[in-house]
Amino acid sequence: MSPPNLAVDFAGIRLKNPLVAASGTFGYGVEYEGILDLSKLGGLVSKGLYMTPRDGNPTPRLAETPSGLLNAIGLQGVGVRAFARDVLPRLARHDTAVFVNVCGDSVEEYAEVAAALEDAPGVAGLEINISCPNVKKGGLAFGNDPAMTHAVVAAVRKVTKRPLIPKLSPNVSDIATFARACADAGADGLSCVNTLLGMAIDVESRRPKLAFGTGGLSGPAIRPVAVRMTWQVARAVKLPIFGIGGISSAADALEFLIAGATAVQIGTANFVDPGVYDRILAGLSDYLVRHGLGDVREVVGTLQMPERA
């Protein structure tokens, strides 16, 4: 029997497999050259980019929590122009889909960043980061208000023909509303989800463990929340979804696919084990063979939901 097909189509973008490295956990991709074969990834998402370089937040920026990681990096980055000039040509050497995580302090800046990439070769799609909890301006303010979400996505839509993938915030009570706002504004896919707003306190000093005070929680601790939200978003809109949150094994990835995600992104697990892609790909193939399936797409959205009393 031939090995099962792992390739998927995501908003018109062919991914050779459904595993994509999540924004902010894979640098600009080039950091992993030589450590792992980037061509093995279905794709990768760049660290969040603004028009200009950013310092990010003061340190400490990371704190470990049970089965999780709390971060307040604050979108330190080189800016979109340096990325397009210095990084994209290097990434072109690898056979993988490159997504750019687009940030902004204002609706206009999101559109400006997207426009700056319009002629850059080697960009498969734009992920619109309306959900970063670690910046004072922008970020969550856009992702927590359906009208603002719509405004950002619509503004970017006007300046680009590239596939647009807004990244949803889990820090809302009804994520389906936000998914619909994105779809109405012309989104081609959705990333589900960014980090959960959290806090950890050093009891000896009675100070927050992060210099920013609060941070975004990621890792296995958030997986059940992210799976639930993926399921809700899949029911609300027809768009392809990147399931994101605490994935570190094939079974974790399958939870999201079964809940309705077309592909998944892997974040914190990159830090824990750069070999995570090999393990998950092998596990996915095993699963498909074991279930007599020839194609990973046959798993998507196959949740057997019991009737609720």
Partner: protein, 279 residues
């Protein structure tokens, strides 16, 4: 090139108290590891704590494809590592980071360590020896019990100057005091070149001393690290080279952990630097 592998513990040596020397099989670290570089490592496949931990490379054995670490067990990650039995697995990425730079022939290499900061200096002593130079190592701690890594230096014939805060062993006082005493005696006559690894206040003291005496110094910083390869941006430190108008956050994992002491913006000194920039 940093290489990620599942490795096995091949030997564990319990020194006094919470101190252990752990040896693992890893051909790339064994061949390529240089003094000041580190590995990111985690015991077994346990879920907790989630992240790997950084440790300086203590020694390498290219023939047997092994390297070793000097680990102080202080929390969940280090305790899990020190509880490994020979034959048990760990996950390891390395060698990582920028090593110490070699001294010139007319420089006297003075290696200054606090606590587990001694780790990179065994390898450094051996590297210097291979180039025909002898290192002088200053090794400080609060008490004699903290100075557990002495034998390998004696075996290697490297002079070790000990210092304890309580006077229980060696020089009574800070390790920088022992260093200053040596400098005041005129050292070995060559231009002193300082290399330091240990707690931040000690590194800061070495940096001030170097500035005061006009000496070159390199420090190995140990901020909290998430990934070891420059992607999480958790371990950034404020660095300002003389030609730069303003500091920049640099990843200690990829652009360090070894930095020129004069380029580090130490906590408490930031205000004056900022004020200077504002003038």
């Amino acid at each position: 090139m940093p290489t990620n592998r599942d490795v096995l513990l091949v030997e564990r040596q319990a020194l006094g108290g919470p101190y252990f020397v752990l040896s693992f099989g890893h051909p790339q670290v064994a061949r390529e590891g240089r003094a000041g570089q580190f590995v990111m490592i985690k015991a077994g496949l346990s879920a907790e704590p989630p992240l790997r931990r950084p440790f300086s490379i203590l020694a390498v054995d290219p023939e047997r494809e092994r390297f070793s670490l000097f680990v102080k067990a202080i929390g969940p990650g280090t305790r899990a590592l020190c509880a490994l039995e020979p034959g048990q697995p760990a996950q390891c990425l390395g060698p990582l980071g920028r090593p110490f730079t070699a001294p010139a022939d007319d420089e006297e290499p003075l290696l200054v360590a606090g606590g587990y900061g001694i780790a990179p200096f065994l390898l450094m002593s051996r590297e210097l020896r291979a180039r025909g130079a002898t290192a002088r190592v200053f090794y400080g701690g609060r008490t004699a019990a903290e100075l557990q890594l002495r034998e390998p230096f004696a075996e290697a014939g490297v002079p070790l100057e000990l210092a304890t805060d309580d006077g229980s062993l060696g020089f009574h006082g800070r390790v920088t005091g022992a260093l200053e005493a040596h400098l005041d005696r005129g050292g070995d006559g060559r231009r002193p070149r300082l290399y330091a690894c240990g707690p931040d206040p000690m590194l800061h003291a070495v940096a001030r001393l170097a500035q005061r005496r006009g000496l070159r110094a390199e420090v190995s910083l140990d901020p909290w690290m998430g990934c070891g390869v420059g992607t999480c941006l958790g371990c950034v430190v404020k660095i300002q080279a003389p030609e730069q108008e303003r500091w920049k956050y640099r990843c200690a994992c990829t652009e360090g952990p070894v930095f020129d002491a004069a380029h580090v913006l130490w906590p408490g000194e930031e205000r004056s630097a900022a004020a200077e920039a504002g003038r």
